[in-house]
Symmetry: C2
Amino acid sequence: MAALEAPRREQLLNAADRVVRRDGPGASMNAIAAEAGITKPILYRHFGDRNGLFQALTERHTSGLLDAMRAALAEPLERRERVELVLDTYLAGIESRPQVYQLLTHPEAGDPNGVGSALAPAMRQIADEITRAVTAQVDLGPDAPLLSETWGRAITGMVLAAGDWWLEQRPCPRARMVQALADLLWGRLAAAAPLPAAPLPSAPPPTPPTP
Amino acid sequence: MAALEAPRREQLLNAADRVVRRDGPGASMNAIAAEAGITKPILYRHFGDRNGLFQALTERHTSGLLDAMRAALAEPLERRERVELVLDTYLAGIESRPQVYQLLTHPEAGDPNGVGSALAPAMRQIADEITRAVTAQVDLGPDAPLLSETWGRAITGMVLAAGDWWLEQRPCPRARMVQALADLLWGRLAAAAPLPAAPLPSAPPPTPPTP
DNA sequence: CGCCAGGTGTTACCGCGGGTAACATCGGTG
DNA sequence: CACCGATGTTACCCGCGGTAACACCTGGCG
């Protein structure tokens, strides 16, 4: 099966990499072929279809982030510190090469499947890693399997959305973001004091009519 | 602007709605036109382009979900109960019409945007609503603005990813899912007892081969 | 030498989807 | 009547993913 050091393949992947860095995940096969100085059929000979190319391109970058996440999850620290390390590892990753991690987190693709297709493959792998770590490290009683799997997905989605927003807006330094997210996971929302109820309507117009 | 009761427009939106319910967010303009018993140019006259149509279609369904979320966020309950109500409201929404809410949560489309474009518009509105509710109801000290905005995004992404997974796999009844997510937000991950460290490698091969 | 095999490359095409131009039709109003 | 606006059509353009068919150049092997 494949992967038996094909230098040409690497060249083509490099070209694809350049184009994706420039045009984002929506880069066209024509553009990639042109960047490589060739024409489409060669790309299709090497990668089968567009999905195959982007999969190869993705796998190239996934391992780095994934290994870092695994290492952080296995670090022998107090739990809170470990969680902060994991969060910081992810944010540092997307911060270092935004365009590349855009490809990992939002492949866009849009293949025809009945339903679902929620998390990108790379994100699914991260979710699995979190699930595994939670299962191995935390005593959650009889519901452990369901809880850890749910939490793996939930935490991944949480840090994904928060990370996207942070990258776009840069509302604070990274360390602060890590604290904010760790605080959320540590139940600070539950523990904080209530504010006196203000009888203000939260939204000016309720909603235009629905016929 | 707009919305000045254009009955024809409503008819077309109804047809589009039917097609999206059947084919999901990838529905083609041709299919929608056919369902409406007409041809493409009419659609384009009414909605400008595909994006315009789907935006109109989205706004139609957004209000329902958003109103429900607002109502849940404003319910006079103990905080934990309110959070559970909000989670349940969202999950009930996506459960009732998966294809429709697929449209709200994953518009996919693939329009040319420079960078970013993390959360779909409907999700962004939900995030704003959560932010507003947290700001109004919880005392978070001097960092309140940053925390509540971060948490709004984070919680939205969390429930989005978890909801997608739940819809796909149906691993448990809805009430259980609500409990699992509320437990996470309530710091159960932080509070649970540790397990004895098992020196097992968490992943068998660092990176599996490419089939 | 001739010949085949395989990797590299090309041009030209198909089907489909978004989007548009140009023309046809009908109902009402001055 | 002429005019106008909404409704509708056919026929087309373009770009994209994907493919067929053909051309070339190397090398090994009889």
